[in-house]
Amino acid sequence: MPFACIFVPNFPVEALLRAEPELRTQPLAVLEGKAPLQKVLAVNENARRAGIDPGMTKLQIEACTGLVLRARSLPQEAAAHAALLDCAQSFSPRVEDAACDTIVLDLAGLQPLFGPLPKIALALARRASDLGLKASVAVAGNPDTAALAARGFSGVTVILEGTEAEQLGSLPVEVLFENSTQKSSQLLETFSRWGIRKLRDLAALPDVALSERLGQDGVYLQKLARGITSRTLVPVEPLLVFEEVIELEYPLVLLEPLAFLLGRLLEQLCARLESRALATQELRLCLELDNGGTGVLARPSGAQARQSFQRTLRLPVPLLDSRTFLKLLQLDLKAHPPGAPIVEIHLAAEPVRPRAAQHGLFLPPEPEPEKLELTLARIAGIVGEDKVGSLALLDTHRHEGFRMQRFAPETFSPQRHRGTEEINHKRAMDSSAPEPALSVAGGCLGGDDLVTALRIFRPPVDIAVTMQDGRPAHINYPKNKAMQGEILWAAGPWRSSGDWWEQQGWARDEWDIAVQGETVIALYRLVRDRLYGKWFLEGTYD
């Protein structure tokens, strides 16, 4: 039964490089500990060549020119580990979380799906690279051998069954010990005294003699060196949490560099979602702000120095396009700036199943959801968020009884359409059924059915009204000559009231009036607010 292991060497460095890939060509050292006792935790290959080794103090390495120093970031390591799990889960459901930098997965039954084992190993390495992690991948007949090979050999390694001892033989014995403990250092010292440098040497030792001197630990290590261990994989079921973090060295003030970082986070998130065949319908952005500066949201002294700024982007349909997300976030942040320098960025996506839509050849055109979302966000930036959308009528007689809501045109479903056709067919068959007011073919209204529209004045036009014999006779509005003059005709009043049981009750008398304008007769709806005794023009019939 084949197993694969994905191992990320220098994991703390790779986790940081994932967020800042431009540092990959420079010497980089990751520091751990509190200042001034910081020590090097991990270095990349360039730094190693420059003579920097883990365990050195910050003081020792500061003399090295061109060396980039970064503090260890546990949230970024957690995100990188989650990405590694996603990479493995995209191939096999049986995945073991061996260590933060090591994932073992069962490849049984995957060959008909993904091809031969070398191809699977290459695909794993490529997928990890897509997720921003430079990983070593090894495939072997048992999990421990795969893990040893991944730790020992860089790149992609395939160990054929029966050749484990031969292929692992060239590896140094240090590869057997994941973590440096006291016991491991004692064993390494013993091996060193015996002159055993390679796994080949350990594998060649007699079993009984090794057992007498080192006990069961020695036997287990020898089995590892020979590649003949056998154990059951412990699969994990990781939670579907898609969150990426960047801790910034310096506070960020402008939106442009922030967009650059957000773009990178979004690409990583989208790559992770894509590896799981998922999309997202909700993005949550959390910015940790530094209020020690001159930001207007700075807290008074004594309060906590950091404050978080959160924005949630909800989408009407599941999407998976990092460019669209970035533009939407940019527009949202432009409309709602954080108000203080940013020191940390958290971006999370709520995973959902991707949208599956089947478009028909004869269906009416519809805007693409991605484009429509961007367009709506841009329009909201021009006219305001509350001024764009579709509307929903409220169950009230109150004037302006509607609310604005998010515009999300319902997608056309063939079943629904078929249902409508069936209803129409039934209507046609049933002669007793009343004829629909609208003709189905053209959707055309006859002249008699045409509705007289009312154009609303927002805000209403306050006017002075002169009454005569209980009806309005003259209106006066000095600001607009078209809205003043003698009332030629009036109908009303139509009295209505409501919500009297609440604070915002209303009561009004409505009149329909005709006023002689300069050239034409204009029809208005005249309203008298009975609670406040005010007259105003609500709109014009057009």
Binding site: G293, L372, S390, G442, G443, L445, L450, V451, P493
Partner: protein, 284 residues
């Protein structure tokens, strides 16, 4: 030279190339052999723009008058207040949403009445309503400074907003009907909309299934409008019939508008302006 025409006007306004006779073909071959005329296509082989697809305007009388509204073209309806422009607008909106098309209304003076629209049968789920209005535009940055904040503020007028919004909507594509409501915009301001903008809009909808529909007090889009219709209140029936009557106000009600439509320009039909009119009545 042959006296045979290379095109024939079989249908009014639609020029269809006819098959050239053998003699004219010979002439064409000779002409194309002249070095100076190499690469010049004869008129008979020029691309003939196909007639646009027409959709129902939602009003039977207007459909009979114009054949409906052309897709991929700009249609303009102008008329004074209380002339019935908005009633036609709502009818068009209702017809489009009944065809399950996604529509957009750019409401420059924020005058749209949802209750009238509901009565006209508009499906609000298919309608995007953009309400323009005077607004302060700010350029955002994470750190707000009071000094720079004022400098970055810019007052944007509704018409300017509308022009930007229409650009975005037309670029987005996929809308069956995009309506620009300039009905309450003062004539001076409406005429200040640059002709270049109208050309841009017309080019944006060309070769698409979008009907771009404008209502205004006076013609604004000028030559960009493929169809220009003028509506006017023929007479206010409810008013005129009862003006002289001495009935009390509470015994009267507004029955509707009598609207007269006049075709001012149609690139599709090539009918002379004012030659065709139609009248219809609305109800309250």
């Amino acid at each position: 030279m042959s006296s045979l025409p290379l095109v024939s006007s079989a249908a009014p306004g639609r020029f269809i190339p006819v098959a050239a006779s053998a003699r004219s073909m010979l002439v064409l071959e000779r002409l194309s052999a002249i070095p100076k005329l190499a690469g010049v296509a004869p008129a008979a082989r020029l691309y003939v723009r196909p007639a646009p697809q027409m959709v129902s305007s939602g009003v039977r009388e207007i459909d009979a008058l114009t054949g409906g509204f052309p897709r991929g073209c700009l249609t303009e309806i102008c008329g004074p207040a209380s002339s019935g422009r908005t009633s036609v607008l709502l009818a068009a909106l209702g017809a489009a949403t009944r065809r399950r098309e996604v529509c957009a209304l750019v409401d420059i003076s924020d005058a749209f009445n949802p209750h009238s629209a509901a009565a006209a049968g508009v499906n609000f789920e298919k309608m995007l309503w953009v309400r323009c209005g005077t607004r302060l535009q700010k350029s955002g940055s994470p750190q707000r400074h009071r000094d720079t904040e004022k400098k970055n503020e810019k007052i944007e007028k509704p018409v300017e907003q509308a022009l930007r919004v229409i650009d975005l909507l037309l670029q987005s594509g996929g809308f069956g009907l995009v309506i620009i409501d300039l009905g309450d915009t003062p004539v001076k301001m409406a005429r200040r909309v640059p002709l270049a903008s109208w050309f841009r809009f017309q080019r944006a909808v060309e070769h698409t299934a979008t009907v771009l529909f404008v209502i205004s007090q006076v013609p604004c889009a000028q030559t960009c409008a493929s169809l220009l219709l003028k509506v006017s209140g023929k007479k206010l029936s409810a008013v005129s019939s009862q003006l002289s009557a001495k009935t009390p106000a509470h015994a009267q009600r507004l029955h509707g508008l009598q609207i007269q439509g006049e075709l001012l320009r149609s690139r599709l039909e090539r009918k002379p302006a004012g030659s065709v009119t139609s009248a219809f009545v609305t109800k309250v």
